[in-house]
Amino acid sequence: MINTMGLSKTFKGGAEAVRGVDICVEQGEIVGFLGQNGAGKTTTMRLLTTLLRPTAGTATVAGHDLIGAPKEVRRRIGYVAQSGAMPPVSPVKGELELQGMLYGLSRREVAARAEEVLARMELTGLETAFPAALSGGQRRRFDIAFALLHDPALLFLDEPTTGLDPGSRANLWDLIRSLRADQGMTVFLSTHYLDEADALCDRVLIIDHGRIVAEGAPAALKTGGRTLDDVFLDITGRSPREQSDVPTGKEA
C-alpha cells in the first residue's frame, strides 16, 4: 500500500527534514509512525499525501506513483492533519458536501455517504452544528469523517489523539480498529504516545533526525522486559515527548 525508496525532503532553507526513508506498508496494516517533534514525522506524512514534493527518492502510494500520478494517489487516500481542517464559522454539512463533490460524488451520493460515515463516527445529528460548538473529540471524529467520505483504501492520521481526553482517545482507537476490521482499510498514523502505538498498531516505525532508526511489531521491539518507552529512549537517546535538539527550520 505504501512503498518508498530513499524518500527525502530538503527544504529551501537547507533543512534536511527527511533523509532517505524506506517505508513498506502492506494492505490492511495499522502502522504507527513514532518520533519526537521535529524528527520528520509530519514532513514524511505530507510527502506521502502529495502535499510536498520529495527532493529525492521514489514512492508508490495506494498503487500509484507519488510523483508521476499524484491525482490518482489523492483519489485513494484520506488524510487527517494534526490541526484539523474545519472552518469554525461554516456548518459542517456544507463542508462535507463540498468535500464529497470534489471526489466526483453527486450531491445525493454525498448525502448517502455522509450519513453512513457520520453514523460510524457516532456523529449523526451533529452535522448542522458549527465546528466552534463541538467538543474536541467530536471535532476530531469529524476530521476523520471528512477523510472517509470517498472510501479511501489508505488513511493517514497525523497525531490523531493529541489533545484528547482519555475516554475520547480509547473511543477513537476503537473506531480506527473497526475501519480495518470492517473495510480492510490500511492506516498509517503518527503519534508520540507510545501507549497508543502499543495498543493500536501492528507495527511501528521510529523516525529520528529524518531517518528510520527502528521498525517492527511493538512486542518484538520490547525485548528484555523493556517498555516501548525504554526502547525509544535506548534508540534515540531521548524520550519521545522531549523536543528535538536538532533545528529543522520548521516543525517537520
Partner: protein, 241 residues
Amino acid sequence: MPRETWVLFRHGLSVTLRQKVGIAFGAIQPLLFLVLFGPIFATFGTWETLVPGLILQLGLLSTGMAGFGVVFDKRMGVLERLRVTPAGRLALLLGRVLNNVVTLVLQTALLLAVAFAFGLRAPAAGLAAGFVLVVVLGASLAALSYAIALTIDENLFAPVMSTAVMPLILLSGALLPMSMAPGWLDGLSYLSPFRYVLEALRDLFAGRYATGTVAVGVAVTVVFTAISLTIGTRVFNREQE
C-alpha cells in the same frame, strides 16, 4: 476542472451570502467617499468622473484584499484538506476568484445605485462595458492577492496590502483626476496600470466608446489579467510548506 471550479464557487458563494452585511461593509469606504466627498467634488467636477474612481477604489479594496480568505483557510487547515482531494489546483484558485468577482459585482451595483441617487447619469452601454472591465480587473486582482497571500509571511499580508492599496488608489487618479496634478505626479501615475483602466472607465461612463483611451485601458486590463492569472496559478500549483 469546470465542475470542481463550479462546486468550489457555489460553496464559497453560499458562505459569502450568509454574511450579507459583510458584502456591504466591504464597500463602505467608497460609499463614504461617495456620500461625504462626492458632493464637494460635484461642485467643480462631474459624478461621471468621480464614480469610476470609486469603483476602482472598491475593486482594489474588495478583491485586492481577497487573499485574507486564503490566509484564514490556511490557518484553519482547510486549504490543506482541499489540496489532498483530487481537485485541480487551478480549480481551487478559480472557485475562489469567481466568488470574489460576484461579491465585487454586487458591491459595484450597490455603489452605482447610491451614485444614481446622488446624480450620476451614465449611458446603459457605458455602464455595461464598465462592468465587464470591472469583472475582469476584479478577477485578476483577486488572483494576484491570493498569490501574495500565499507567498509572503501570512502575518504581513494585512499590513502590506493595506499599505500598498492606498498609494495605488491615489496614484491612479481615483479621487481627483491626474489632469489636476503637477507634472511629476502625473508622470509617476503612468506607472500604475490602474490609471489606464480608470481613464477607460471614465470615457465609457461619459458615453465615449471608440476612443484611444478605451483601447489602451482594455489592452492594459487584458495584459494585467494574463500576468495575474499566470502568477496566481503558479503559486497555487506550488507546494505549500
